[in-house]
Symmetry: C2
Subunit: 249 residues, 2 copies
């Protein structure tokens, strides 16, 4: 298949309630659009969450890494293009490019997904599912950003904590992946967002948390304007880990 | 003008990260889509926020009331239709109908808006703006739900409180209108949402709050499954008032 045909292209607009104090799209909303784009693309290629649910399988996001030069401004149109870079037995790598209103690249993202059985919660073998046809989607388009890193956090004193509430919970009864992004970014004072912008954001989803869980946020400053953050539930188990790198505007 | 032509029609889909534990669209996301539909419609008719900003005017949402039989389910398409019911000197009434995937009415909403000068923060006279042409949009379509009520809250002991964070703040530096909806609905325990659904939701926006403000939530149970809620900032001034009516599923 023509490589270009393996890339999904989806158009969005930066809605007024989806931008921050700077008028720029929030990272949580960008994350939502990336994941929606992944969903549209996999559905169009017969590997969507909906069609797979009939067979009791669902996609689970494992890692996400986003590099950005700029975020779309309020009311601006932008485009997300996505493609599959690799398929392994238990994981698949899906990449993204974010184009601004003039079709100029303003960012890239990498994601890692597993597919699990809803009955057994065990991972599926991607290379045998649907006769292994998922590999036909592999595309050789390059993604010029670093892969998600291994994030470690040493700090044992939480910076903040909160209880997971109704608005945090998704259809599976879990705290939803986008809410973690918002809660992590709420750790930084408003001055950060006035003077700086996020140039890289990473999230590794490790375990699920549920309604009423106490989520605590531990942060290490690991470089200039670079933070590793771990979210733990009920004081013990890691739920997710994030890296946030800011850059002076 | 033909009455039908005065109605704006906008198509949406219930995205996976926009549904709650029941797989139903959240009230906050529905509110966002209602306000976006209002924005699209007013822009198409020359009264949008963007075109008006050039003239230093902006729309301010004063009240919102939503009656619902059902919320769209995950991945379902739905449609919002909106029209102007009345224009007064300082306020305009805009109504909405929400149609499900089969074009059946599943809910209605009413909203009240003012237009203010960004320089003086004073309200504009809607009947003289743009030569008074806004009245040409008035449409006689009926909206069979009650108008927003006067909400009063007597309780002086807050049910919950929180500090406004980065993710709460919009381009104007205010806590955004949708976040108040989410915070109000987070006051109710998860069992409410498992056993009941919201059949009416109201919000009256009274004053602005800002980053770092302490928001406290006061609630009166005023009937069976009916709650009046007031949000106050820094222990004193009312910011908004809400009414939530639940109904057993």
């Amino acid at each position: 298949m023509d490589e270009e045909k393996k890339i999904g292209t989806y158009a969005y607009v930066a809605e007024p309630f989806h931008v921050d104090l700077n008028g720029r799209l929030t990272m949580g909303v960008l994350g939502n659009h990336l994941l929606n784009s992944a969903g549209f693309h996999s559905t169009e290629h017969g590997f969507g969450i909906a069609s797979l649910n009939d067979e009791d399988y669902t996609w689970v996001l494992s890692r996400l890494a986003i590099d950005l030069d700029e975020m779309p401004y309020q009311y601006e149109k932008f485009t997300i293009r996505t493609w599959v870079e690799n398929v392994y037995r238990l994981f698949t790598d899906r990449n993204f490019i974010i184009l601004n209103k003039d079709d100029k690249a303003i960012g890239y993202a990498r994601s890692v997904w597993a597919m699990i059985s809803l009955k057994t919660r065990k991972p599926a073998d991607l290379l045998t599912l649907n006769g292994g046809s998922i590999v036909d989607n592999i595309c050789d388009k390059t993604c010029p950003i670093e892969k998600p890193s291994r994030i470690k956090v040493k700090n044992s004193v939480p910076l903040a904590s909160l209880k997971a509430k109704y608005s945090d919970i998704d259809i599976n009864g879990h705290v939803n992946s986008i809410r973690y992004i918002e809660h992590v970014l709420d750790l930084f004072p408003i001055e950060y967002y006035k003077e700086k912008r996020i140039c890289r954001f990473e999230m590794a989803y490790v375990a699920e948390s549920y309604y009423g869980d106490e989520l605590s946020f531990y942060s290490d400053e690991v470089g200039e304007d670079e933070y590793n953050i771990e979210v733990r539930k009920n004081g013990t188990d890691a739920v997710c880990r994030s890296k946030v790198i800011f850059k002076k505007k």
